[in-house]
């Protein structure tokens, strides 16, 4: 009961701290609106220009002719432009200069090996910085290989040689990104929600230190209440405060901006709760490592901004170059964003699970470190 009493009054006081509340609620909502409007173009899918790929034919037999015919067909030509090269080196130089996105190599003996019914590989070299265009090449080659395998099976059954032939038997379906990819406001609603929760580190930072600052720690120490009860009450109060703020942001953005929070809102709430634990634990840990809560508070605020930036909170990290994109992995914001985006847009469940595990591991580590320092200082 005493834990609940401490938690209740902590929450009450947190919600009366209008300065912090403004930062925790109004700021993210303003940022969602401003960034969502200003950077809308970044998230609008554009027409995809043709992709140049290098083609090195070392085989020069029947199957290579079939592949060439396929690659130069009218349908494929809308997506890719074939540039024949004489060597791998020539192709790599073009890829390095961003003049080509990938290299397709038909190795020597490709046709003969296929005709013998043995396995053989078409070599594809991608530029790691044009992953999207490389994926187009891979998709096209997968299409060809499927067709080639089908023809081989037919030939083995009937003995009738068959060449690649295009049939107009596909129904054209227009594909839309709506609901499958985030609009800018959807994107920023997630990243700013995550940022807000991470700003909750300040509650973890001040929750116990403020008792010393305002002398109420003397009263708490002289009251018939265990120190652990005080710590738990303060922690619970901080966690509930941040969690309620996160829920307010979700509800407000859904109602006011029609943000897409996906079909599994319970899991989104679970991510929020997990990140809240991490934020409070991190705040307490940093607070206990330092002596001056003002200084540790400033450090945490700065840290949250950096974490938000490298996780692509202000601008998608994938568009800020590979260095920033890679740095994102060290940010707790990135983990929570990944878990949320995967949940909302049907991404990889394995990635989501890994992200959640990482969040819980970091949170547990932060609490263990904070607790051990607290216990040492109490003794």
């Amino acid at each position: 009961m005493k834990v609940l009493n401490i938690a209740y009054y902590t929450i009450l006081r947190n919600f009366r701290d209008y300065k912090t509340l403004t930062m925790m609620l109004l700021l993210p909502i303003m940022l969602i609106l401003v960034l969502g409007s200003a950077l809308g173009g970044v998230f609008t899918p554009n027409n995809i220009s043709t992709t140049t790929i290098c083609y090195l034919n070392e085989d020069k037999k029947l199957m290579s002719e079939t592949l060439e015919e396929f690659l130069r067909s009218e349908e494929i030509a809308e997506l890719i432009v074939i540039k024949s090269v004489q060597s791998r080196e020539e192709a790599f130089a073009l890829i390095k200069d961003n003049k080509a996105a990938a290299l397709i190599v038909l190795p020597v003996g490709f046709s003969e090996t296929i005709q013998k019914g043995e396995k053989v590989a078409i070599e594809i070299y991608n530029s790691k910085y044009s992953s999207f265009r490389a994926s187009i090449v891979q998709s096209i080659m997968n299409g060809f290989i499927s067709a080639a395998n089908a023809q081989l099976v037919l030939r083995q059954l009937d003995g009738i040689p068959s060449a690649y032939k295009s049939f107009d038997n596909l129904q054209e379906i227009s594909v839309t990104s709506e609901g499958n990819a985030p609009r800018s406001i959807d994107y920023y609603a997630v990243t700013m929600l995550v940022m807000t929760i991470m700003y909750g580190t300040s509650y973890g930072n001040f929750s116990l230190k403020e008792e010393k600052l305002q002398n109420t720690s003397i009263r708490l120490a002289s009251a018939p209440v265990k120190y652990l009860e005080v710590v738990l009450g303060k922690l619970l109060g901080s966690i509930v405060t941040i969690f309620m703020q996160a829920m307010l942001i979700i509800v407000f953005t859904k109602v006011a901006f029609n943000v897409n929070w996906g079909g599994n809102i319970l899991f989104i709430i679970f991510v929020c709760f997990s990140l809240t634990l991490l934020a409070v634990g991190l705040g307490m840990m940093v607070s206990n490592l330092g002596k001056n809560p003002q200084a540790t508070g400033a450090l945490l605020n700065f840290g949250v901004n950096i974490m938000t930036f490298i996780a692509g909170g202000y601008f998608p990290a994938s568009q800020m170059g590979p260095a920033i994109d890679r740095l994102g992995f060290i940010s707790p914001n990135y983990l929570a964003q990944q878990a949320m985006f995967n949940t909302i847009y049907g991404g990889s469940p394995i990635q989501t699970t890994n992200a959640m595990l990482a969040i819980w591991i970091i949170a547990a580590a932060a609490f263990i470190i904070a607790g051990s320092i607290e216990r040492r200082s109490a003794n």
């Binding site: 009961m1 009054y9 006081r13 109420t216 009263r219």
Partner: protein
Amino acid sequence: MQRQDKGQIILFGKNFDGNDSSIKKDIGIVPQDLALYLDLTCYENVTFFAKLYGLKDGLLKSRVQEALEFTGLWDRRKDLAKKLSGGMKRRLNIACAIVHQPKLIIMDEPTVGIDPQSRNHILQSVKELNRKGSSIIYTSHYMEEVEELCSRIAIMDHGKVIAQGTKEELKTFVTVEERIEIELSSINYTLVDNVKQVSGVKECTFKDNKLMVVSEKNSKNLSRIIDCIAATDVDILSMNIEKPTLETVFLTLTGRTLRD
């Protein structure tokens, strides 16, 4: 709360190690620095601390009301603590400490920097709490407060108790002689000589119509001095017996060197 360096703390007949909840529940602390949540109302502040002492339901409500009424803050119960004046904050500081009706109240300079009305209210409250049965350890640099309130006094200097006892006992530490100033209708040398003959009188002088008598400590000769005067045809207009104050005792014992 500091742990003791050595020795034992015996409270209510029990050895107190600083953690015993059954002892803590009977102690109330009024720290020198305000220990309040400025963003909670008076009512919420007192309620919060009352709940830590296990008060609940009807008893909680009545005790909170009692504490706020006792400190004269019931009418301001809905105001945030930060909106109160310095004196009111001090009174709220006391309300938070007494809401659970402790047997022992430790007050550390509760009247520092407040207006005379609040100060007077606090001093009366301390007397009232004592009258209701609470023992009070009252720390102060204001000797007139100590003299008014305390039945037993300990003077501490540099963290050590250098003297303790009742105020009368403490005064005997510094008093070496007693001074009496008597205003008379007239003075003559015969009267002065007669007073000088009284046992214990060390010195008797006069200026205008005032007679100044210096006696040895505890000579208990006041009635005999008055008898001497009454034997002459002189009227006593006023009399002032100069006694040492606690201020004198304090300064004598601790010295006049400025403290940090």
